[in-house]
């Protein structure tokens, strides 16, 4: 290569480097927000029907409002400093309950509007709740509406002969104006929906069910069988008497009909030439009176059971309204983009930057906008505990939600440190289908031999409360059974009774936990205690999250760590996990008396009796001990003294519009 060329090369390399540096030092800087929160991580989504975790909920409670909202009610608890909260009017300015506690009538504010000015009506709630329950939305909190008639059937796709159903034809509109029927391509946008037909289910024509008795069938694993069954179900042909005229909202189910047939898979052997392709036949949930909108500002909900905690459910984000006009225009997930999203809370989304922040700004169209004090809020995706604390100390963050455990003892002494009991419990699941933990005596023995005080004092350190029951204290009107006390002598005695005197002959059990310093430290203490107290040898096994969850749901473990945060302030949220074959049970434990007590409690309209039934159920649970409770969490927050209006609450909820900045903003470096 000639020398000139080499020189050119060197010069251009330097040039490129210079340009690169220039480019790299260009920033579009943004003035800091008035108030910054350590939000822990990026919200996975801002769709209230798809969100689950805390980082999402902090933002969703800020940008959406439900029928009701949780607000402080009464004086803080003098001992713990906990501020009781209760559901109070939000989009609904008032509500009434019928005498049998099964019919709720909500009166919506006439002036409630979306952030783009479109009025909020009861039809928005009808539509939102239907979307939330629709199987294609796959909302993880769908069970919160299962006490509304037909909600569960609608959600799980269960239909029976004679049911009044809706049929969604295979013609969902595409953004470009075509429909599925034109292109033949299935659209996963369940909203806007395809052509809806209504009618009564007359018959389901099913091809022969696949059997797994032959050689090929026996080789299939559980997943493949499940797939085969699902494929088979798609070939079912549904025959319905379709109403000739059906205006949603005022359907005359006894009107004139025509018999038509529908199927998901047109290749089905049962399909006739006139059979139409469809998405699904579902119970016509929104047309059967479970939820009704008699006028634009009245919303009526019927419940199957008198649920005393129903008002708090309506103050929880899965039941919040979502903007139909925005979702139908942009589709999912595009409607959640900062430039598209329309919301109805105290704040609206201004900007979303991955791994950085979600910037919220005051929504002037909120019904209570006069109450909102802080103009802009940054929800920072800061994950590192130390990083967040550094930023807090140097003034870049005003509210730390996850202070470092290692510094807890020092931080606890500070005035800006808030810690208070929370409705959540840390526990060890036991696999009751495997030896030796199938024996309740062994389960109890292990539970009795663990010194929880040592765990909360030396490992978790933030003031957690040792747990001897399942339901955390602090739920109004509920008193847990007395539980048990650690008793090593009794634990040894139980082991003798179970046939393992002195721990001899006890098969080795392992404790499974998801990889994390904190979980490992706790497991090690327990391993030590069981060894010293009972001479029981326990192995520790850590796995990363995905594998860990797989192992638990397949019951492929002996002991597994877990935790549960109450979805609402009622013992039921902790107790109904453990019913036979409950989706979150995953212990193999089943007790008919327990199931029956929970059912009776659900149907009981007298609050006192209901709580007693629940307490009886918890007593059975404690006696059988399918799970070892370890401690009740505390919420831990640090908030700058310049912020007013922050108080610890039982569900760790902190309405953003109640926060105030005391003095002019402190200088940020």
């Amino acid at each position: 290569m000639p020398p000139e060329l080499r020189r050119i090369f060197v010069i251009s390399a330097l040039l490129v480097m210079g340009i690169a540096v220039l480019w790299a030092t260009q920033f579009d800087s943004m003035p800091p927000a008035d108030f910054s929160i350590q939000n822990g991580t990026d919200p996975k989504t801002l769709d209230p029907h798809r969100a689950t975790g805390q980082p999402e909920s902090r933002i969703l409670f800020g940008i959406f409002s439900g029928l009701l909202q949780m607000l402080p009610d009464g004086e803080p608890d003098p001992v713990t400093g906990l501020q009781p909260m209760s559901p109070q009017p939000a989009v609904a300015e008032s509500w009434e309950v019928s005498d049998d506690k099964k019919t709720y009538t909500f009166h919506l504010r006439p002036d409630a509007v979306w952030s783009d000015g479109v009025p909020i009506t009861s039809a928005d709630f009808m539509w939102s709740w239907t979307r939330m329950l629709h199987p294609a939305t796959a909302c993880e909190y769908n069970f919160q509406l299962f006490s509304v008639p037909y909600a569960q059937e609608f959600n799980s796709g269960l239909v029976e002969i004679g049911d009044r159903c809706e049929v969604e034809l295979f013609d969902r509109p595409n953004p470009d104006g075509t429909t599925e029927a034109d292109t033949g391509q299935a659209s996963f946008q369940a909203f806007p929906r395809g052509t809806m037909l209504y009618g009564t289910l007359k018959e389901i024509r099913k091809p022969p069910e696949p059997t797994f008795d032959d050689e090929a069938g026996k080789q299939l694993d559980e997943k493949e069988r499940e797939q085969a069954i699902l494929n088979w179900q798609e070939t079912w042909v549904y025959v319905l008497d379709i109403l000739n005229q059906a205006e949603p909202g005022q359907i005359d189910w006894d009107g004139p009909t025509t018999t038509q047939s529908f199927t998901v898979n047109l290749d089905s052997p049962q399909a006739a030439p006139e059979t139409q392709r469809m998405h699904a036949v579902l119970v016509a949930f929104d047309q059967l009176g479970g939820i009704e909108a008699p006028d634009p500002h009245t919303f009526v909900v019927q419940l199957k059971d008198p649920l005393p905690y129903f008002p708090s459910l309506t103050a929880y984000y899965p039941l919040f309204p979502v903007p139909r006009h925005c979702i139908e225009e942009h589709g999912m997930p595009m409607w959640t983009k900062a430039e598209n999203i329309v919301s109805n809370g105290a704040y609206q989304v201004k900007l979303r930057r991955l791994r950085d922040r979600v910037r919220l700004e005051k929504n002037p169209n909120w019904f209570d906008a006069d109450q909102t004090s802080i103009e802009t809020i940054d929800c920072l995706s800061t994950e590192g505990q130390n990083t967040a604390l550094n930023m807090y100390v140097t003034g870049q963050i005003d509210w730390v939600t996850d202070p470092p455990v290692a510094l807890m003892e020092t931080l606890k002494e500070r005035d800006d440190f808030y810690s208070a009991p929370m409705l959540s419990v840390y526990f060890y699941r036991l696999n009751t289908t495997r030896k030796p933990l199938d024996d309740p005596r062994v389960r109890r023995a292990l539970a009795l031999a663990i010194d929880r005080q040592q765990i909360v004092d030396q490992v978790t350190k933030a003031g957690q409360v040792p747990a001897f029951t399942l339901v955390p204290p602090g739920i109004a009107g509920y008193e847990s059974p007395s539980g048990f006390q650690p008793d090593i002598a009794k634990a040894k005695q139980l082991l003798v009774e179970a046939g393992y005197p002195g721990g001899r002959g006890l098969p080795k059990v392992s404790v499974l936990y998801n990889t994390s310093e904190a979980h490992r430290a706790i497991a090690e203490v327990i391993q030590q205690q069981l060894q010293n107290n009972l001479n029981v040898k326990v192995e520790l096994q850590n796995m990363e999250w995905g594998t860990f969850l797989d192992k638990i749901s397949q019951l492929d473990y002996d002991i597994a760590r877990s935790a549960w945060i109450g979805d609402y302030a009622d013992p039921n949220t902790f107790l109904d996990m453990w019913v036979t074959d409950g989706a979150q049970n995953s212990t193999g434990w089943s007790n008919p008396d327990y199931d029956r007590l929970l059912q009776e409690a659900a149907a009981e309209s007298d609050p006192g009796k209901r709580m007693q039934l629940l307490a009886d159920a918890e007593a059975i649970w404690i006696e059988e001990m399918p799970v070892i409770p370890l401690y009740f969490y505390v919420s831990v927050n640090m908030v700058k003294p310049r912020i007013e209006g922050f108080f610890p609450s039982p569900q760790d909820l902190h309405p953003l519009h109640l926060l105030r900045i005391k003095s002019p903003a402190s200088p940020t470096p």
């Binding site: 993880e140 100390v393 969850l549």
Partner: protein, 309 residues
């Protein structure tokens, strides 16, 4: 010139082959680990899980998923939607995070090269002095100390004791300096040692002795006759250096709360976000391949003895 072109074309061919192999390997690997993107503590009923799978084309037979996704990437440059960060496509995630990671990497590399080469030249020219010893001692430390330890020390020093820089975050030049320094420091240390070794070797050569004998000023000899030859090992190290800067940023992104793409890499893997993980793996593959090719070319330019083939 023609050999450069044929070299580039051959490299491109190899790159496509490598990317395809990486794609295939990652595809198989991802689907053979236990767990799936829809595992969560709340169990999802099978019918709903199927709806979710259909949305991400995970219900198709594996071979079809393999080809569908590949065709999407090749024809439309579309890496699909992220399964876990539901509101984003993989392309959007990359578009948001990549400029941040790139800025950081560029600043770190430029800092590393400038500091490393200067330190190396100085200690080679003044070899055996206390200054040489100090510089090279620091370099050994720089190589030995992992960058997260360095970052903690730097924060303690420059955020708390001498409040020069903000503790974390992204958006201003002051916020990027500390992470870039921490990221570049080990690379700088390595480059310093390489430069010094290269300089010492070339300083002993006969053409250098001739140059000095001709009475050329020391400055000219060092810059014109010694440095180019001494930089060869440094140039060949730039490939691995880029790799180390890109992967090293995973840790620093967390410590300094930077919105780069590094952290997505880990999350995508642990949360079984197949599409995002694939996007990350492919991006890094292409990036490293391109950087290594550039290094090879510049090597040939600087050293006439090296032939591109």
């Amino acid at each position: 010139m023609t050999d450069l072109f044929s070299y580039l074309i051959r490299r491109l061919g190899w790159m496509l082959l490598t990317v395809w192999a990486v794609y295939t390997f990652s595809f198989i690997l991802m689907r053979s680990v236990p767990g799936n993107p829809f595992s969560s503590e709340r169990n999802v009923p099978p019918a709903i899980e199927r709806q979710l799978r259909a949305r991400f084309n995970l219900d198709a037979p594996p071979l079809q998923q393999y080809t569908d996704y590949l065709v999407g990437i090749v024809t439309r440059g579309d890496l699909g939607v992220s399964i876990k960060l539901e509101d984003y496509t993989v392309n959007e995630v990359l578009a948001e995070g990549f400029p941040v990671s790139a800025s950081l990497a560029i600043l770190a590399l430029v800092f590393a090269i400038t500091l490393g080469v200067t330190a190396g030249v100085v200690s080679a020219v003044y070899r055996g002095t206390a200054g040489d010893l100090a510089l090279m001692g620091t370099a050994v430390l720089g190589i030995a100390i992992p960058n997260f330890v360095l970052a903690s020390l730097a924060i303690l020093l420059f955020v708390f004791w001498i409040p020069l820089f903000p503790a974390a975050g992204w958006g201003t030049l002051r916020q990027v300096i500390l992470p870039a320094l921490c990221l570049g420091a080990p690379v700088a240390a390595y480059i310093a040692r390489l430069t010094r070794a290269g300089m010492l070797e070339v300083l002993g050569r006969e053409h250098v002795r001739t140059a000095f004998a001709k009475g050329l000023p020391k400055r000219t000899v060092i810059l014109k006759h010694v440095l180019p030859g001494a930089l060869l090992p440094v140039v060949s190290y730039l490939g691995p250096a880029t790799a180390s800067v890109l992967t090293g940023s995973l840790v620093l992104e967390k410590i300094f709360a930077l919105p780069g793409i590094g952290s997505h890499f880990i999350y995508a893997a642990t949360q079984r976000d197949y599409t995002l993980a694939m996007g990350m793996v492919l991006t890094y593959t292409v990036l490293l391949f391109v950087m290594n090719s550039l290094v090879d070319i510049s090597y040939a330019v600087i050293d006439p003895r090296v032939k591109l083939q």
